[in-house]
């Protein structure tokens, strides 16, 4: 979503993005010409008249599970967004019985919060697990 019109979205998709992605952008390119939606989400920069790089993860119940906002010069890490969605999906599927510690990615161990885990995280989770090997 940006402040560009749907016409500009069409030109960008048809003349540039479709050359990067086969078949063009697969998801809707939303237009927020007035900045009202961006203002509601707290990411509209009214001085510059543009939206900043806000990214919101919304779950199937419509609940915001996470967000990230960057100023325009720095791009996002798409893989990190995917990792977070995968983590939230795992937590949701476990009905909250599992949690994903720092550095978790699919295949890595999860934690099962409860009285037995208090003070015992160090026994199973090592700081090296926070990093990609």
């Amino acid at each position: 979503m940006s402040i560009d019109s749907v016409f500009v979205h069409k030109m960008w998709n048809d003349h540039e993005l479709s050359k990067m992605v086969k078949g063009g952008v697969p998801f809707p390119m939303l237009s927020d010409a007035s900045g009202k939606v961006g203002t509601t989400y707290g990411i509209y920069d009214s001085d510059a008249g543009v939206e900043t790089r806000g990214r919101f993860i919304i779950d199937p119940d419509g609940i915001v599970q996470g967000y990230e906002v960057l100023t325009p010069p720095v791009g996002r890490n798409v893989m990190e967004s995917f990792r977070q969605v995968q983590a939230f999906q795992l937590v949701r599927a476990s009905k909250g019985s599992e949690a994903t510690p720092s550095g978790w990615k699919p295949g890595k161990m999860t934690l099962k919060p409860g009285p037995g885990l208090v003070g015992k995280v160090w026994e199973t989770w090592k700081t090296s697990m926070a990093f990609d090997e």
Partner: protein, 84 residues
């Protein structure tokens, strides 16, 4: 399903859904105050909105609440022809 719309000269706009309209009748005396900016809170409902969109060759109207039941990544960016 998103509703397709015909492209006209007027720039189609969307906006938040379900916001209360301003109280009528007090326009002369009230000073227009901008709403305090409150950042979205995690664990709380994502504000619903409608917005026109370009999707696979068509102009359609999208409403966030149509995506209930699915995971949504909502991404804002400064402008077309920049990176995302």
């Amino acid at each position: 399903m998103p509703e397709e719309f015909k492209a006209g000269c007027a720039r189609p706009t969307g906006g938040p859904v379900g916001k209360e309209p301003a109280p009528a009748g007090k326009e002369e005396t009230t000073v227009v105050k901008e709403d305090k900016k409150v950042m979205i809170q995690v664990g709380k409902k994502a504000p619903d909105f409608t917005a026109p969109a370009y999707h696979q060759g068509k102009f359609v109207n999208i409403q966030l609440s149509e995506y209930l039941g699915k995971w949504v990544l909502l991404c804002f960016y400064p402008g077309d022809f920049t990176f995302v």
